[in-house]
Amino acid sequence: MTENINPFSKYRTEYMGDSAWKYFVKDPFKQYIGEKPLIFEGSRGTGKTMFFLCNSWKQKLQAAKAEGASLKDFLNSNTHIGFYYKVDTRFVKSMDKKNIEESIWTGIFNTYFNVVIGKEIIAFLNLLLSEGVINDQLIKKTAKHICTSLDMPLVDNLEELNDRFNDVIIKIEHFSNNTEREKPIGINAGTIIQSLLLSVKDSTLFTDKTFHVFIDEFESLNYNQQVELNTLLKHSDNNIVYDFGVMTRGIQTFKTGTGQEIRPKDDFSLLSTDKYEYHESDNYNNLLVEICKKRLKDVLDKTGKPYDESFLDIQLYLKKYPKGYEENLFERSNDLEKIKQRIMVELKKSSRIYAYSIDETNLFYKELAECKPIVMRMHLALLLRKGKYTIAPKDLVAHKGNNTDRYKDWLHNMENAVVYLLCHELKIEKRYHGFKVFSALSSGVIRSFLELAEYAFDYAFNNSSNPFSFTKPRSFDIEEQTKAVYFVSRFKVAEIDSYEPSGLQLKTFTIAIGKIFSALHTDPNSTLGEVEFNHFTTKINDLRKERQDAAILLKHAVMHKILEEAESTKTKSDDIVELMDFHLNHIYCPAFRISHLRKRKLPISPIDLAKLFCGSQKELEDVVNKLSSYTEDNIPNLFSETDELSREI
């Protein structure tokens, strides 16, 4: 049944085993592996593990062998040889406290790090030895030196050295479990790694090579451990380079052991995918297309039948359909009548104010209510405007009749917001379709896109009236794509409580902020003066100063990309300083029935934000209720309670 294999069912590098390289797209970031260390910063699912793993010697050699290359060919064609290490979170975190001084734990961590990378290097050296690329004389002296520095019996070969390294790890395990046992030896960071790697630099085959140590999940290390590895990064040279993969905001310190700091540009290149606009970039969208192409090719090849090149393009499956699908659904809704009735109510109210005759009122009704649902609902929103924003029905009809620029502006600015209102009022789900929409919903997280694609394929395979098959590929219909979007979106919200640390609080916050935006999107009395609030801004420095507990949770929300930071755009107030905008990750937007497009921002005071993150249940509910009824006529609460607080302090 190869024609029914979902090309996107494997979206974690960890599940790909030795074949990760098959799915790896080199192009966008290949220049980042060089003689300068790299810090690849991004939330989970942004491709850090894939990038480092597929740049490690094991995966690159697998890829080379698949193309018929020998080990020597591989070595001749690769200047950079990488060793991959994913931080063993539980183990490194256990090297702390238990009546033992920090400096002793730091030394033990250094021993552990040297040994665990040393084992990776030994695997590589063993291969070189077995294929006759190097001779064991090159490393015998080094092995002796290592045994001396670790106070171990001397060894004759690499296998024995590997066994000794295992013994060291077991000794550290025992000590971590019972600090009354014999203390493992502590050494300086990177010394054994350096000895092992430099031992082969004497071979002509390696004189021009740069070895890399890729450290993934750097955020799991504690402060002192990060200092030790920062020191190694700082001292990287053309022989050995240390590169880090880290979650956004996962670096606790830039300090090194000598008190210096590592700095971007001077000491390392920074690759960060967690920038708000990243999902719009060609780089990201092209990368998605290329990733999908590899997966689709894999499955199409397995069918054993010839196929059209166009079937390798994900955009064929995630087809964008013309506008109008939702409007057809709106037109068929019985609830449309209720909106017409509301228009009549508003017209009657106006007729008393403006002394319209019954005939005039009926004429206005015909003009404003008997038209397409989206336009009709926009008219209702405009009729609801009050005070200085009031639009008289007669004027509105005139604008419509003359199709004035102002009327065109209203249509342009409000259409999307009206769709969300109508979906809510007519109980119709907003539809999602098209590659660009899927890409935008993924918010720059490759794994989110792959999950969306996986479920789109799943729904298409399971479509009982027109089941999808790779023997006869077709575009997915709007319903198949929409179902996938809602499923993944809800799943992603549910998944938040699995994020460490603070998953429970982060989920509560996410749902609370989603409820606020949703209420603002679906307010039946909305006049659409401010459409589609879907991000917020706050005085970030005040939050950090006054509520460190909430600031930490905010940091975790950014770390897990529940929120995306963006430089603050201008608001209506001129004297705003120190503001930061926060966008909800787009993947959550469908679950909350809110727009994922960059729209209006809601000012939230640090006090209210703190309550949303870590307030009592009552405080949380109060803030949700208060912010859900925010209107453009309200004074932004950003400048009320905070100012009161600063006065108090």
């Binding site: 974690r12 960890e14 599940y15 063993d88 979170t89 539980r90 183990f91 975190k93 256990s94 406290k97 238990k98 009546n99 665990v116 790890i169 550290i172 395990e173 971590s176 479990n177 019972n178 600090t179 009354e180 799991s220 799943f491 549910a494 998944e495 409580d497 699995s498 994020y499 460490e500 640390p501 998953g503 429970l504 609080q505 989920k507 509560t508 916050f509 996410t510 749902i511 609370a512 409820k515 249940q617 949380l620 509910e621 949700v624």
Partner: protein
């Protein structure tokens, strides 16, 4: 030869069991917590010492209190380090050769795992028992709570599984992982561990027969998301909710079937008897990994007492 290892405590045998041990170990709880006090009160003729152990949220610290059977305080200490001070205490107080019973009803799991390991592998008392008091109901959450999808209100927060279990710290190898996970009533705990470990294979375990009929289905319902995403509905195993021995046997069977292809991880998220079974197995099999997420339990999380059991564990002292 099979012999009975699990007994229900009642009027006919409470006097007998009161004489079977010299030291009773319990957790720290308020005396108004009915389940916490039930086992102790059931042993009306117990004349030994009572050790109450507690640890902080992340299981780094140790506090203890020693009382006589009448509740008179003999000694207490706070702010010790769980490692190595628990072992030192057990050695200094000469637990070796004595008869010990651990009331596992309210003792924190982070501490329980280490205690079980120390007693069975290092201290080696002459007899070892455990007691457990079953609840009739767990506390349910009020509806209409913003952002809350959990049905039960059992924990204030979860510290997380990125911390090692004291006494079971072990370096992760590069082998594929098989995770055995007795499930509880919280939808996110197993999900979190699954997300962090990324096991190749998941074997969820549901407590059946459960303390109260239907709780096995609740556990499956609450963990539906992770069962679905890991496509392991066919792998669900059952194990009597109140039996550490069945849990031990189940893990043992899975272990022998899969140890050649996987590193075996156990995440005991279900009942305390299941936690005890997992701790006993992991203590006896150092190649197994024990993973836990250190939930901070609510002060009062269950309602009324169903019954109390006592387990004879001396055969695990090796």
């Amino acid at each position: 030869m099979n012999y009975q290892e699990k007994f229900e405590i009642d009027n006919s045998n409470s006097s007998y069991f009161s004489d079977q041990f010299d030291i009773l170990i319990t957790g720290f709880r308020e005396e108004s917590d009915e389940r916490h006090m039930y086992f102790r009160k059931s042993l009306s003729n117990f004349k030994g010492e009572i050790y109450s152990f507690d640890t902080c949220e992340n299981a780094d610290k140790l506090s203890y209190r020693i009382e006589d059977s009448g509740g008179m305080l003999i000694e207490s200490q706070d702010d010790k380090s769980l490692i190595p001070d628990l072992e030192k205490l057990l050695k200094n107080k000469k637990f070796y050769g004595t008869r010990i019973c651990i009331d596992i009803t309210t003792i924190k799991q982070g501490l329980l795992f280490l205690l079980v390991k120390l007693l069975t592998k290092d201290i080696k008392p002459s007899l070892l028992f455990a007691g457990y008091t079953e609840p009739t109901e767990y506390k349910k959450r009020k509806l209409s709570v913003i952002g809350e999808t959990e049905e039960y209100d059992l924990y204030d927060k979860i510290i997380g599984s990125s911390k090692s279990v004291p006494g079971f710290i072990k370096h992760q190898s590069q082998n594929q992982i098989l995770l055995i996970a007795p499930m509880g009533f919280d939808s996110q705990r197993l999900q979190t561990i699954y997300e962090n470990l990324k096991p190749k294979k998941l074997i969820p375990v549901v407590g059946f027969p459960s303390f109260v009929p239907g709780w096995n289905l609740t556990a499956i319902k609450m963990n539906y998301m992770v069962l679905r995403s890991s496509t392991c509905f066919d792998m669900v195993e059952t194990c009597e909710a109140s039996s550490p021995f069945e849990m031990y046997n189940l893990i043992e069977a899975v272990y022998h079937r899969h140890v050649s292809n996987f590193d075996i991880y156990i995440a005991p998220l279900g009942t305390r008897p299941h936690c005890l079974g997992a701790a006993l197995f992991a203590s006896n099999n150092p190649s197994v990994y024990l993973v836990y997420d250190f939930p901070v339990e609510k002060k009062f999380r269950s309602e009324s007492v169903l019954k109390a059991n006592i387990y004879h564990l001396s055969k695990f002292i090796k």
